[in-house]
Symmetry: C2
Subunit: 241 residues, 2 copies
């Protein structure tokens, strides 16, 4: 059974300010929940509408109530709350990906999976980047969020004190295919509509671009998640070669 | 003003069978509509809720009626119907991307933009791939759909008659960074959950993979749009080098 207080708590967690206040976030469906459990994230409570699941210390919930607390259009069979893990210290080695005002939860979720795949050291997000504990981000990351250190901070201050070379994805940068890419570096990706902001571009030591190949060079730009996929792949292949 | 018959026609076009019957598809918002007009797609009808737009032969519509016919949760300021263009003949040169049962409209939209960016000759989709004139695909492609030849056909039959080498994205293929990639080729990407189906794998001459770099090699797989971004970039850089 779920109490009225629990319903109120869970629906409040769709908002960032309540996630921060309670130190909890929502994950839905056995696949995502299972991945987070495997990564030893601390479980707060776990509901399932499947008969038999309550054998394992999981709370029973009706399908109707599950739909009520779900962030999904069609609820899965389970929903859990996990504790937001404490943040790890910032690292100075390896590749750091910096996001400047990425707003779309689907894009952030895809980028977190990519960072995990390519062994990025850490993800540093500007304070106006979408929250990584947003339920839509959690659903898109598929457990990767538990493996990647993520920081939200003033990225101007961060870049000011950092000593690594700064590569910035720009429309008119150097062809990335011809650019030597070191293993210790910072890569900055910008906002979906406006790219990297001017005040952040000022820290760039190496503006880079993915060249366009179509005969009609009219494609506006690549989606930020697609561009991140390609640039992280370029850093990874440079390290491997 | 919009008639009841027009409302009925437009809402029916959210379904593939009516799009095929009427030979029409929906595009929403001045940006997407503007890009399709620039590519000379044939306009069937154009509605706008903005005052002044009716000066240019655009039909006036109330915000309430626009929301009624919109496929978006929150309607934009305009909606247009375009004629589905006739398909172009299949080409045998350059890079052909084949999709085997890609189901998510957002993924297909992103992949169409990537094909346009990297100058892919044509996109060949299996008959169970999501329809490229699905409104969600149209919104994600940002006009690229008008520049890329797209075919829906029996991909087994297509691969049987084709003479180009066939590269297939697989979990256990050769490291793509070490694989020479020719400019005339076929690249096959598979379904979101199941990858490339066995009967299609049988046509593969070169199974390829994107190596995983994380210390904990536990990321399940890359999203199909991310993997397509990286592999199309690899084919493009190989041609350029």
């Amino acid at each position: 059974m779920i109490s009225k207080g629990q319903i109120k708590l869970i629906t409040s967690l769709q908002q960032k300010k309540y996630r921060n206040k309670e130190g909890l976030f929502i994950a839905e469906g056995p696949k995502v929940i299972g991945e987070l459990l495997k990564e030893n994230l601390e479980l707060h409570i776990h509901f399932s509408s499947l008969e038999g699941d309550n054998m394992q210390g999981i709370c029973e919930i009706s399908e109707r109530n599950l739909q009520k607390i779900s962030c999904l259009t069609t609820a899965n069979t389970s929903l859990a709350l996990f504790k937001i893990p404490p943040s790890k210290p910032l690292q100075e080695v390896g590749l750091t990906l910096v996001l400047d005002a990425v707003r779309d939860p689907g894009n952030l979720g895809t980028i977190i999976r990519l960072c995990d795949w390519f062994g990025v050291t850490q993800l540093v997000c500007s304070l106006d980047t979408v929250d990584c504990y947003n339920p839509k981000v959690i659903q898109a990351t598929m457990g990767s969020i538990a493996r990647l250190p993520i920081h939200y901070l003033d990225i101007q201050a961060y870049l000011k004190q950092s000593r690594a070379p700064v590569y910035t994805a720009m429309m008119d940068g150097a062809n990335v295919y011809d650019t030597p890419l070191p293993s210790d570096a910072i890569l900055i990706m910008g906002n979906e509509a406006n790219g990297v902001s001017q005040k952040i571009q000022d820290f760039s030591t190496h503006p880079i671009s993915i060249p366009q190949f179509g005969a009609i060079q009219d494609t506006e730009s690549l989606n930020v998640a697609s561009a991140t996929a390609i640039l992280l792949s370029e850093f990874a292949r440079a390290t491997e070669m």
